[in-house]
């Protein structure tokens, strides 16, 4: 029993290598080395490689949504020295241009003023004494509620749709359309349905995250290497076990990156949603400040939003590296 099975595994590994061109023979040997075991260990390896094939496109997409460039480990002081120098020079130029009078302070408040405004925002708060911490907490709360609801709905639904080809065919145009509807255009409807309170904003974030997440989960399940599934079938794994033990682990990396993209979308939606009909939250903060010609507060708010976005992106990347270590390694090697 054992020898034919091992040959089969080797065969499937070779096939996978052939279909993915440019796979080094090293990994084929690795598979042959781990043969014979009844568990699906070596197959997991195939899945990783299958994942690698489309990781470049996908990470390009994720990157463009505010994910920072993967930086190589710091080899040289130049890697961080030059950027700091450029930014410092830029700030000095800006400050100088305002002081000479080339830039109007009402349009381009100088960095020194921004620093003072940041302190004011934290200590006194704006508008109506709402501190930066409160704005921050409210925005985070809205994002998390909408995001988690969307994820909780989209993952099970996407897994089923991706696994059953008939359902995929039936829902494909609907999902494509749902994704295309600009989330913020639903804002007026959300106000009719849920009033101007928290619920309308949470709904919008949920809507935006849901479709992105759903299409990513469907794509993740569909893109599981068919060789992997056939190989599992030859080992008499089928039905629920096939799904749980083979398809799901293989789809996991892409599901995770979908979750990351969805959070980026939610972050974008919240800033827009908060600009209308509220004075609490970071989006409201920058819009309110604009209305009262406090450009300095607007700019500080923008940088806080940017920092929050960056922190979320980096945090998720770290989490992904911890939960799916092979995936991070693959991504580093791939690019």
């Amino acid at each position: 029993m054992s020898p034919p099975k091992s040959r089969l595994e080797e065969g499937s590994a070779l096939q996978a290598a052939a279909s993915r061109d440019a796979t080094p023979p090293r990994s084929v040997h690795a598979h042959a080395g781990g043969h014979g075991a009844a568990d699906l260990g070596p197959l997991g390896g195939t899945a990783r490689r299958a994942k690698g094939a489309h990781s470049s496109t996908q990470s390009a997409f994720a990157r463009s949504l505010g994910r920072p460039a993967e930086t190589a480990p710091a080899r040289d002081w130049r890697d961080w020295g030059y950027p700091l120098l450029v930014i410092a020079a830029g700030l000095a130029l800006w400050q100088g241009a305002v002081m000479i009078g080339w830039l109007r302070p009402i349009q381009f408040p100088p960095p020194s003023k921004l620093a003072a405004s940041l302190v004011e925002l934290v200590v006194d708060g704006y508008p109506e004494g709402i501190g930066l911490g409160t704005h921050f907490a409210i925005t985070m709360q809205r994002i998390l509620l909408g995001y988690l609801a969307a994820i909780a709905l989209a993952i099970p639904l996407g897994l089923v749709i991706g696994w059953v080809p008939l359902l995929d065919d039936l829902t494909d145009p609907v999902i494509a359309f749902g994704r295309s509807v600009a989330t913020l255009s639903l804002l007026p409807l959300a106000v009719v349905w849920f009033g101007t309170g928290e619920m309308a904003k949470v709904f919008l974030i949920g809507y935006g995250c849901f479709w992105v997440m759903l299409s990513n989960v469907v794509a993740a399940v569909k893109s599981v290497d068919p060789v992997l599934i056939r190989a599992a079938r030859t080992m008499d794994v089928s039905g629920a076990a096939l799904f749980r033990q083979v398809a799901l682990p293989a789809a996991l990396p892409r599901i995770f990156s979908g979750a990351r993209v969805a959070l980026g979308v939610g972050f974008m939606v919240i800033v827009g949603a908060e600009m209308i009909g509220t004075i609490r939250g970071l989006g409201a903060l920058i819009m309110e400040a604009r209305t009262f010609y406090r450009t300095d507060i607007t700019m500080v708010g923008m940088f806080v939003i940017g920092a929050l976005g960056l922190a979320i992106a980096v945090g998720l990347e770290r989490l992904e590296a911890r939960l799916l270590p092979w995936q991070a390694r693959e991504a580093r090697r791939g690019t």
């Binding site: 096939q15 052939a18 065919d169 509807v181 007026p188 349905w193 940017g306």
Partner: protein, 293 residues
């Protein structure tokens, strides 16, 4: 001239052949496996037909629940009620004007963003000193969502067209720049060295070797940037505009014509879908099979 064209053609032919070979090698003996190779094989209805059935079902469910369960067109208008309301309150010329304004803003902002993003991205991917100068500032500003620029855009450019075009420009610029830069940086050094041994250098090396190799990444950036521009456009029109599709949604809600608002929302989705597939088809023609799906 004929040599590169010939080699490209052979490369294009080779790809499908290889796929076919792999499929034959793994031709299923078990009928259950036919599903794995081609999901629609052995099914009587084709994919588009099934898709149409699915879409129709959703519309029918919406129509039914709106008329029977909620039965209030001021809460959830049925699709037919939305179309009827749009027919009643809007002339075709008005509608065309709103769509036209939105498209004009998109095209202007996206074209500027694409131009600047590709030019700067390619240039800083080619000249290391430029990247050192430009990238820190771009990386600093990139995490700020484009919508967060709306207030400051209004301060800088007023409430008119330039502020909207500026925000759309930003939405397109950042992903396009990043992808173009990354595409240029990740061009295989072997490729460049090989070209150099054939005495290709300077502008020819950039435009005939490096740039084509970076095209797939650039087109990924263009598509992502285009998708972002649409979302931003609607938000900008909701917040400050007196024309355009986003304005139409907001305005008809304020007038209490919820049916028109729903119609406009669906219209935005439809226009986005059509524009995106047009862009994808164009890029696929230009970039060919190197285009990532």
């Amino acid at each position: 001239m004929s040599a590169p064209a010939g080699s490209r053609a052979t490369a294009r032919e080779r790809a499908p052949k290889r796929t076919r070979k792999v499929q034959r090698m793994s031709a299923p003996a078990d009928p259950r496996d036919a599903q794995v190779v081609d999901p629609s094989a052995g099914r009587r209805l084709s994919r588009p037909v099934l898709g149409a059935i699915g879409a129709f079902t959703v519309i029918a469910l919406w129509e039914g629940s709106a008329r029977l369960v909620w039965s209030d067109a001021q809460v959830l208008p049925a699709p037919t009620q939305a179309i009827a309301a749009a027919w009643q309150h809007l002339t075709v010329a008005e509608l065309a004007q709103h769509v036209g304004w939105s498209l004009w803003r998109i095209l202007a902002g996206f074209a500027l963003g694409a131009l600047a993003g590709v030019a700067l991205g390619v240039a800083s991917g080619w000249y290391a000193w430029l990247a050192r100068l430009v990238r820190p500032i771009i990386e600093l500003l990139r995490p700020i969502p484009p919508l967060a620029w709306i207030p400051i855009a209004i301060v800088w450019f007023g409430l008119g067209e330039p502020s909207k075009i500026f925000v759309i420009f930003l939405g397109a610029f950042f992903p396009i720049f990043t992808n173009a830069w990354r595409g240029m940086v990740s061009v295989s050094p072997v490729l460049l060295a090989a070209a150099r041994t054939m005495d290709v250098d300077g502008p020819a090396l950039l435009f005939k070797v490096a740039l084509p190799a970076a095209l797939p990444d650039i087109s990924t950036g263009l598509r992502v940037g285009f998708g972002l521009s649409f979302g931003i456009l609607v938000a900008a029109e909701l917040i400050a505009a007196e024309r355009g599709m986003g304005f139409l949604v907001m305005h008809s809600r304020q007038l209490g014509q919820l049916g028109v608002a729903v119609f406009a929302i669906l219209l935005i989705g439809f226009v986005t879908l059509v524009a995106d597939s047009l862009l994808a088809a164009t890029l696929r023609r230009l970039v060919g099979r190197r285009m990532p799906s």
